[in-house]
């Protein structure tokens, strides 16, 4: 069977699972990139999270396309210096987000009143419409690139811990960490359930069979999740958990980390100042 035909014959849930597994593979790719020795990989995660936040705010308030373009170029340069390949950035960030943003912004090009540039059968493209669309796409593209550079150069564990630098409560950080941890276990379980079902199926399934399988899988997953959560609680108790969670503090930031933070703060101030 050709892959295309097989794809068409797969049910909604199986296609969703395939997408989820693809997402999991993307995450694993991100973890592998984070292990490379590049410019940002060696920087403290707290610096990167704070720097990202500052730059995102600066880009969001900027009203100068040239400044946004320079920030975009800066994000690309940081990605290059951190050994992120352009194709990885495209797959991880741009493709889906920019297409989605373009779809949202397309009506604004013809619906925003202003100086006419081109008359079409279904409306008029205006200069103001084009500018609004350009700003949105440029901001989204820049912010997404900055976020992707952060995510690709930092493991999730470090990002979560860095959230504490923003005074995010420990319990919230721990819950996020455990959620991320067990998504993989449950995804694998869900995948196994559907693989086992597929291995015993002959011919395509009807819509009602697919619905029944989806409900059954959801039930099994729910039951396994409850069982797993009970076992995890016992494992935590066994090692002394008594309702409060504690984490090891990160080591203090080093000189180069402070310098990076100061440099990013300078860039952000520059972006806002030039844009005024």
């Amino acid at each position: 069977m050709s892959p295309g035909l097989e794809h068409r014959q797969r049910g909604f849930v199986e296609r969703t699972l395939a997408s989820l597994l693809e997402t999991m593979e993307h995450t694993l790719l991100a973890e592998r990139v984070a292990e490379r020795t590049g410019m940002l990989q060696v920087r403290d995660a707290r610096v990167k999270v704070i720097a990202l936040l500052v730059l995102v705010i600066a880009v969001s308030v900027s009203h100068d396309l040239r400044v946004i373009a320079v920030t975009f170029a800066l994000a690309l340069t940081l990605g290059w210096a951190s050994k992120i390949r352009l194709v990885e950035l495209m797959k991880h960030a741009w493709w889906g987000t920019l297409v989605f943003s373009a779809a949202i912004v397309a009506p604004a090009i013809v619906m925003t009143p202003g100086r006419t540039i081109l008359r079409l059968q279904f409306g008029t493209i205006t200069e103001q419409g084009l500018r609004a669309a350009g700003y949105l796409l440029a901001r989204v593209g820049t912010v997404i690139t900055l976020c992707s550079v952060l995510v690709l150069t930092t493991s999730w564990a470090r990002i979560l811990r860095a959230l504490r630098a923003l005074r995010v409560p420990v319990v919230f950080v721990v819950i996020l960490g455990m959620t991320y941890r067990y998504i993989f276990v449950l995804l694998q379980t869900a995948h196994d359930i559907f693989e086992s079902r597929r291995s015993r199926r002959v011919g395509p399934s009807s819509a009602s069979q697919n619905r029944w399988a989806a409900v059954a899988a959801a039930g099994v997953l729910m039951s396994k999740t409850l069982e797993l959560s009970g076992e995890i609680y016992l494992a935590m108790q066994s090692r002394g958990f008594r309702g409060e969670v504690y984490l090891l503090d990160d080591p203090p930031m080093r000189g180069p980390d402070w310098l990076t933070l100061a440099g990013v703060a300078g860039v952000a101030v520059g972006i806002v100042w030039i844009s005024q």
Binding site: E31, E231, S238, Y246, L247
Partner: protein, 269 residues
Amino acid sequence: MSEAVDRQFELQDVHYHYHDVAALRGITLSISAGERIALLGANGSGKSTLLRILDALYFPTSGRVAFDGKELIEERFREDAFAFDFRRRVGLVFQNPDVQLFNPTVVDELAFGPLQLRWPKGQIRERIEECLDAFGIRHLRDRPPHRLSGGEKKRVAIASVLILDPAVLLLDEPTSALDPRAQSQMIDFLTESRGRTVITATHDLGIVEDIATRCVVLEDGQVAADGAPATIVQDHTLLRRTGLLHEHRHLHPDGSLHSHPHLHGHHQH
């Protein structure tokens, strides 16, 4: 040392029920400090439940369990001092390492127990470094659990318990789902682990004589036998009755069908 203190665990007529289902039915057992015990039994015989009773995760429906002369009751675990002391001295390694590895990285996993027991952070960092070397997992230190192999997960799970240097180590099926090399490493570890009480729940008879000096066989939540590993492993009537031994049939190269008793873990002709 008095006999009372030497006897680390004392179980008297312990019963445990999961709702209406009896998992343990009148277990009476004494375990001395430093003993290496294999807890044998088929699936559903009550091995895991007994380990959880010994780790005070479950409390008996009836009967009495004591550790170092003190009865293990829920009320006692509401006091920080008793709970911290017990949790430091008794460690349980679960059968499924995914249950036990709930932290984002290996280092966080190792730090979890000492942090909960409020150890000074400097001491925790030192112990982490020692454990990373002792268990050969330094290269895994920042790795998330979903990127570890089965054998690596088991090693990290054991390290996360042994970082507390407990006097009692409880292991639930430590060799299950491991490839032969990881299994052999695990047996080496259990063989070398001297000086502490080690209680291993298993149905793998092939490893019993390597890891234990005493065998307790469970059947339907009761103690069916208690003795030296060599004696227990030779008692085929007992092993057949408790589901640990069965007739194994296989084809020989000449095409003839051969039948013989099969011990879990290895073949015995």
